[in-house]
Symmetry: C2
Subunit: 349 residues, 2 copies
DNA sequence: GTGACAATCTGTAACGTTTCAGTATATAGA
DNA sequence: TCTATATACTGAAACGTTACAGATTGTCAC
């Protein structure tokens, strides 16, 4: 009666990582029972369940990921897809930490899937989907009509986008309200008496370009200010390019007396350009900039800043993907983060 | 004679991702033969090999990672272990890209394994080793006597450290020559007539603390300058802390007329502190700083900078780990990166 | 005492791969 | 013609897990 074991079970006592077989041997149960007991299946007796779980904890049993993955197809992997050339530096670091924070006490691992300038952004996505390498995907640099989102939606693989799309398709996203950022920025500049404003925004292909631009122009007409076009560059351009163009612009007859900038590094370049042209921040011109870490006010105290929290974005995106994987409705996994009011660390008076 | 198949093989034609079975069915060979043909095993006929590889390419066969991993234990994963609180921002981003660059055309995936302040740094390593989650590991924030390196060396898992250890144990590393950085920095400051120098270095527990400090003090005596102690803070401290301490220091009677700073963000804080005390960079005091992205000269043109290339570090570290996995001698996988000469973007004259 | 039924537990097969121990054929040597 | 050997291929087993389809109890109504 207590001789249930087959001869093979004895091997289970061999050293190495404990498996279900080890647990089965130790508890005198079958591997099936052990497997089910560990996941609280209903047809397992309460005492058995407790016993198995106790032993499992004691010997530090951890399910073999390859075994689970092979059998079930579940990878327990979230992939973060990043552009290795154009991504904002602090974005990469913070979003990774945000994601990590959320998946820390889940069985999920985070894998980073990079793609470079030259590649079709769809390439890494195709790879992930075709090889079934991840249960969920996070993408950034979202476009209004984003082939990646469409592709993943078609294949039914859970994902979340940093930034919204505009294709009439529903999927999880997290976005910063760049419309609100731009309007706030313009209003603030107007409050300082600035009347001719220039915008250094994201590149046209990204969705938040139009969000930012719309906020900018709407607020311009609201406050009765005018735009000095500055769309030969975007925050994707090099520091040197932006600096040079800014200096050119500031040497014109009609030059802006205010800037709105969508990224901190670009703001450094704008300020350098302004100073190259012999003008002074806070005197001839003011700049409102987004930043993701609290450093711009050290750069020039006259800078006006709005904070965008990428770590929070990472956490939200991770929560969204996990939610979708867990069966939640994609439409319920969308979030928008509001900008803080414009922060002036020290206004000259 | 052409009826080798068992009844089961017919299933192979079912849709879904192609497997070895699919290939075996299509080529009329056994799965073993296909498996061996794909990895250029010697006992496979030349024509068969070519035929199998052609078909495999045509239908886009990709080995199932879970299958390989389960059978062989090979994960094809490199894990980058990061501290989610203390890591330098640009370090995270650049090192990831550097690693990605190297593993791009290998079967390896990069997984990011985070740990937080509260945790024992050994925890994530133990997890990786115990669960066999990675074939190779990259760690940063290396200490002279680093329990993580010792642990991995004992278990025989390939790894590389960013920074050297000092335990008499041999393992791959990549390091920036911080001794050379500090000596160069001091010499340059001395060349500008600076005589009382302060060092804002890494925290004491990291190996490159003493490298930096030794370079600093050695060069001090070489040029006959003296040290103003500034070791109540390190580059790990918050911007606010560093700023405050710097301002305190600069208001003393004997204050430094030169700083050496090991990190760009810390340098921003130092400069802010200097200016808080009513002094001017380039006049009363000069600062030499390491930076990893080319932004400090925009901040204050008087800053003197030395570049440390983290992307290259990432690439080197990845190459080292892959090399070790591939059977190279750990001692042959060590590299040291020399600092550029101190760059002054524009010296006031 | 029998049958029905629920409550627990179990072995087998399969996921895709590689390794092991072969098998079949051809070639060569005697 | 026979044996030995090299060449080219093969099936079965195993890695650790879960799903499926039972199997073994005990309880209860009749």
């Amino acid at each position: 009666m207590d001789r249930h074991q087959t001869e093979k079970d004895d091997e289970a006592s061999a050293q190495g990582r404990p498996t279900l077989k080890t647990l089965a041997f130790m508890t005198g149960l079958g591997v099936t029972t052990v497997s089910r007991a560990l996941k609280d299946a209903p047809e397992i007796g309460a005492e058995t369940r407790r016993r198995v779980q106790l032993v499992a904890k004691q010997i530090g049993y951890r399910p073999n990921r390859a075994g689970v993955r092979l059998r079930t197809g579940k990878t327990n992997v979230i992939s973060l897809v990043l552009n290795t050339e154009r991504e904002i530096m602090s974005f990469v670091s913070d979003i990774i930490y945000g994601v990590s924070e959320v998946i820390a006490d889940t069985p999920y691992h985070l894998i980073v899937t990079p793609y470079s300038r030259s590649q079709d952004p769809l390439d890494p996505i195709r790879y992930l989907v075709e090889t079934g390498s991840a249960d969920g995907v996070i993408i950034s640099r979202t476009q209004p009509n984003d082939p990646r989102a469409r592709y993943m939606l078609e294949r039914g693989i859970p994902f979340a986008t940093h930034g919204r799309t505009d294709m009439g398709l529903i999927h999880p996203y997290h976005d910063f309200d760049n419309y609100a950022f731009a309007t706030e920025a313009v209003r603030h500049l107007a409050g300082l008496g600035r009347r001719r404003l220039a915008l250094l925004g994201p590149p046209v292909e990204l969705t938040y370009h139009s969000h930012t631009l719309n906020g900018f122009t709407d607020a311009l007409s609201e406050v009765g200010a005018s735009e000095i076009p500055f769309n030969t560059v975007s925050i994707d351009h090099s520091i040197e390019q932006i600096r040079m163009r800014t200096a050119q612009l500031m040497r014109r007859d009609v030059r802006p007396d205010g800037f709105v900038s969508s990224a901190a590094a670009a703001t450094l370049a704008i300020v350098a350009g302004i100073e190259d042209a012999g003008l002074k921040l806070g005197r001839e011109v003011d700049v409102v900039s987004k930043q993701s870490s609290d450093l711009l006010h050290l750069f020039r105290r006259e800078l006006l800043v709005v904070n965008e929290n990428f770590r929070l974005a990472g956490a939200e995106l991770a929560r969204s993907v996990l939610g979708w994987i867990g069966g939640a409705a994609p439409g319920s996994l969308q979030s928008l983060s509001m900008p803080t009011e414009v922060l002036a660390y020290r206004r000259p008076d």
